[in-house]
Each structure stands twice: as C-alpha cells, then as structure tokens.
Symmetry: C2
Subunit: 343 residues, 2 copies
C-alpha cells in the first residue's frame, strides 16, 4: 500500500510471500515456469487485496502503452462520429485502447492535442488533419511515432493515408445534375480552409463541362449550440443569398449538413425541393435518409475509412505491414428524392 492508498504489486508479493519478480510473472501469466501452488497463492493475494495494475508504470517500463491517440476536428459532425466509431471497434477488437481528442475545428487545438498524445507516448496516432501546413506532420515525424492520416489527404507518399477521392465526388455531383438537364448549378460552400473542400469544388467545376456554375461561400462563423446548428444556419444564410441573385436550377452543397439546412430554408421560403430547385449533398450521413425530401448525395464511407485507418496503423505497429499505405476510397452516388429532371 503506497501513500495514496493504492495496492501495488509489492503488496501482493508480500502477502503471498513471493518475490516481486515472480508475482509479476504470474500476474501477466507469462510462460515462465512457476509452481502451481505459488501461482495460486499469488493470484489469491491479488484478488483479496483488489490489486489493480498501474498502467503508467507498465507503459513506462515496456515502452508500449497499447493506446492509440485519435484526433478529429469535431465529434458533433456525424461524419466524424461514424469514423470514430469505426476506429473504436477495430482498436478494441485488436486489444488497443483508443483515446479520442476533438480539435474543435481549431488548428491550434489540433496541434495541442497531438503534442499531448506524443507526450503520453501513445503507440500510434490517427488523425484527420485540418491544419493546412506541415506543422503537425513535422512534429509527429520528429517524435517518430507511427501515424495514419485519414480523411484529409496529405501529399507526402512516405506517409500512410486513408483518404477519399474528393475531386471525383464533386465531379460526380455535377455530372449527375447535368445529366438531368441542369445547366446552371450553384455550389454552396464553407470556407476553403482544407483540402477536401477545395478538391470537391475543383471536381464540381470540372464536372460541369459546358454548364455554368456559381459559387456561394459562407464565411460567417457564429457558433452556438454546436456544429449541427452552425452548419444548418450556414445553409440558411446561403439560401437567402442565393434567392436574391441566382438563376440556377440546382445546388450542390459542400456537405450534407449544409444541404439539409439549405433544403429546410428553401421549404420555409416556399421553394419546393426538388420541383423548384434540385439539391445534391456530399457525405451521406445517416441523417440524409431522414430529411424531407430524402437527400440525394455522394457517399463518403466514413465508418469504413475509420476502420481501415485503424487496421493500417495496428498492422504497422505489430510489424505486419512495412511500407506506407495510401488508400483512396471511391465515391458513390446515392439517388434519393431531392433531384428532378430540368427541362
């Protein structure tokens, strides 16, 4: 019993009349030979005392914490909540414990989180990096901690990355709408502060071909009641803006939250979806099936991306994979009820 009243391995060994070494061996049931009678005594003592191993001591000694740090921009966006769930399931199936941090959409907090994880000597890190430069990457490299980037792409091929073809997703959305006869299409966006958004917009423009595109950008950043509201409200503001000056017959939104917020704002103003305006989202969050009308969108498999990132990381940690892995998942258009043919 130490000064904090916690039972240590020493207490157990004393009560069992064994050495600390033997006690440790029994408690970790290694294959080191220990007489059955002794083993029983130690186990009994541990149980009676309610011994709880101190993972700090263990990790310090072994250099392995069996913990994996995870950094995402937000837990409020269902997109990340799903990714995190994928990570959680894989980690826990493979005997690791994920530690989640939210950077709250702030690059500063992101860096602080990474720093914390490094200091805690996590075995590995999984991160959806929003910071635009290389500060996080440099830091992680310097610390020499294995890392898998997911969601946002990183350009360096020496780095493992599970990402998504954002460009193609934007392109598909545009192509789909033009194939339905839409010529003038608006793009509702949040600020282009991260690669995924830029690529989606580039893809969108590319997919337009001879059709026309308009950009509507919401740069306001009021933040009350969480991500949902913020992005919904952005959707509403974009709609006001749009109705004042646009002649487009369709809208592509930078993500589903914006799309749903926009549809709602349209309805409130008496604009019928999809009869008056068609809307296409990007992400396919679960909620997309529940909006009214159900949202046509381009699916980004966040749950799978999370699971794969975790698999890649753990494989690396366990020496089952040696080269950096670069995986780019493919978009898929999900047709629902928010688009109709334009004549």
């Amino acid at each position: 019993m130490n000064k904090y009243g916690k039972i240590t391995i020493r207490d157990v060994s004393e009560r069992a009349n064994a050495s600390i070494a033997t006690t440790s061996r029994v408690l970790n049931n290694t294959d080191y030979p220990v007489k059955p009678e002794m083993r029983k005594r130690i186990l009994k003592a541990a149980k009676e005392l309610g011994y709880t191993p101190n993972l700090l001591g263990k990790a310090l000694k072994t250099g392995k914490s069996h913990e994996i740090g995870v950094v995402v921009p937000s837990l409020l966006n269902p997109y990340y909540a799903e990714a995190v769930t994928g990570i959680e399931r894989i980690c826990s199936a493979r005997g690791y414990n994920p530690v989640f941090c939210s950077s709250d959409n702030s690059p500063d907090k992101e860096l602080a989180n990474v720093e914390f994880l490094i200091r805690m000597r996590m075995d590995g890190i999984i991160i959806s990096k929003i910071e635009y430069g290389d500060e996080v990457i440099d830091r992680v490299n310097q610390a020499g901690i294995s890392t898998v980037y997911f969601d946002q792409p990183v350009s360096n091929e020496k780095l493992s990355c599970v990402t998504y073809d954002f460009f193609e997703a934007g392109r598909m959305a545009a192509e789909y709408l033009t194939s339905k006869g839409h010529k003038k299409i608006a793009f509702f966006s949040l600020p282009f502060d991260r690669q995924s958004r830029i690529s989606r917009y580039e893809g969108f423009k590319h997919g337009l071909k001879e059709a026309e595109g308009y950009l509507y950008l919401d740069s306001s950043s009021s933040y009350e009641g969480g991500e949902f509201l913020r992005e919904f409200e952005a959707g509403e503001r974009l709609v006001s803006d749009f109705l004042e000056k646009s002649e487009a017959s369709a809208v592509v939104a930078i993500n589903d939250l914006i799309a749903i917020g926009a549809m709602n704002a349209f309805s409130k103003r008496g604009v019928s979806i999809p009869n008056d305006i068609s809307v296409v989202g990007l992400d396919d969050i679960s909620f997309a099936t529940m909006s009214n009308p159900a949202l046509t969108t381009v699916k980004q498999p966040s749950y799978e991306m999370g699971s794969i990132a975790a698999e890649v990381l753990i494989d690396g940690l366990e020496g089952k994979r040696h080269k950096p892995e670069i995986i780019k998942m493919l978009p898929k258009l999900v047709e629902r009820d928010s688009v109709c043919i334009h004549v």
Copy 2:
C-alpha cells in the same frame, strides 16, 4: 537518448552541463532559484534536442495525470456528442485533458472502459452509466477515484450526479398533448434497460390523467450503419405496428431519433404529421429543427449537463468543493410544428 531514440531529461541535462534536478526545475519553471545563465543553457539545450517530456514518468512520480476519463454509451447519438463537447471545452479551459471512451451501448464494454481508466490512474472520471446494477459504482469506489455521474441518475446521495428530471419530461409531453385535446396517446419506446427510459415512461403515464395511453416497445436490435439508422429504423417498425392496431391521435417518442424516424415512416405511408397524427419527441437534439415538420419536443440540455459535470469534477479535484453535488436539470417544452389540436 534512450534505446527508443527518444530524448530524455538526462540528455538535456548532459548537454547543458547541469544536473537532472536543476534541469527538471527549469523545465517546469518552478520558483526554485536558478542562475539566469544556467536557466538559459538548459532551455537552449532542450530546444536544440527537441525534448518532449514523458508524461508517463511524470504522472507515475507525481500521482497526477491531469487526465479525465469520460465514458458515454455512444458517440453516434448527437445527444452524447453534445455532452462530450461540453466536457471537452471545460476540461481544456481548466488545464485537463479529457479521454473519451464509448461503451457502444454495452454494459460489458462500459465496465471494461472504467477498468482501463482506473488502471491508467486518471485523476477523475465522468460517466453516463447504462449498466443497471452497481458494479461500476462499486469498482470506482473501491479504486477511490473521484467520479461524477451524469445523464442517468444514481440513487446514492454520497455520489456526485448531474442528471435531469426525466419523469417530469415525460409528464410534460403527455400534459401538453392532452391540453391540445388528445385523449388517446401512444408511447414509442426502446427497451426499458436504463433508468431514464423508465422514468420518462412513468412520467408520461402520470401526465395522462384521464386520457388513455398505449405502449409500443421496439426490442429488435439490428445494428447496421450506426446508432442513427438503428433508432430511425426502430421508429419505422414502431409505426407499422402502430398503424395496424392503434386508434391514438398522438405519439410521444422515447427520444428525438425515434420521433424523427417515426415521422418519416408516417409520411411515407401517407399519414400526415401533424394533421393525422401529432408527434412529440424527447431530447431536443439539434436535428430536431431540421426535420419536416420541425419536431415539437422536450429539451434536455446535454451540452450544459456535460459542462456542469466537468466543472463539478474538477472543482472536487482541486479541493474547491467537498460535498457530493446532486444537480437535477429541468425540462422545457419546445413547441415546433409536429403537434396540432385534436377535436
């Protein structure tokens, strides 16, 4: 430089020609007197070597990790995502680092998570406990780790708990509907495996007074694509069941996810909300404003509950609060468009 290639405080001290003791004092800038010139040398050496303190060593020595463990049943439910965000903001403002674990709605995993947090010697724990018995409580008590329970109530008054008047919420929902003339009201529920659900239902029954109530319980537990889908689907199944046999004119749902899923299923079957059936939810997740029609619901302030739980815990850790704190937040009816008067 140790065998893992990491820089330790010893490396810094050697390069600065100082002792480990002095180095530690400078790096933690304590008020212990150190000559300015020496201080500068140490700081310089630390910077040049890229020293990163090992928090495991520090925590082991000091007995304080400055980490707070958080266990919630799911991160996919926006209700918990919001709570977790509240916790995150407070912790990080007060210099603590939250470590989030999801128990994935499984009592076993919940216990495993708690065990992990205890072994990591977290300074404190915040938990929304779903396990119905006392196993978690006993474990935490035995470990002697300060804990704040939130969301689900615990009966023991020696325990700090930030909860919510679930009974009153159920009662208000029923009262509101009867005040609008509804006599026969159905209750759509998930299994009664946790106190909050039981209390909501009890409150609902109590609020009915002379009106009639019917219970529809969804016990199916298919789980694909996450919480959202699961609960939405439960909503759909409940609707099928309901349409076969009920004559109720209104529905109260155990939570907003179920309510929204149900509204959607009603619409698909040509039942108009609120003209044919009125629907009231419980929770007021952000999405409730975006459903169609917008959902009338009873607000449960999850973000605030999370923040308060964090404040209470940290106050306790820092000796600013000594007695257990029991806080019960009050419900508030939020009128939107999913209820109409029944004649």
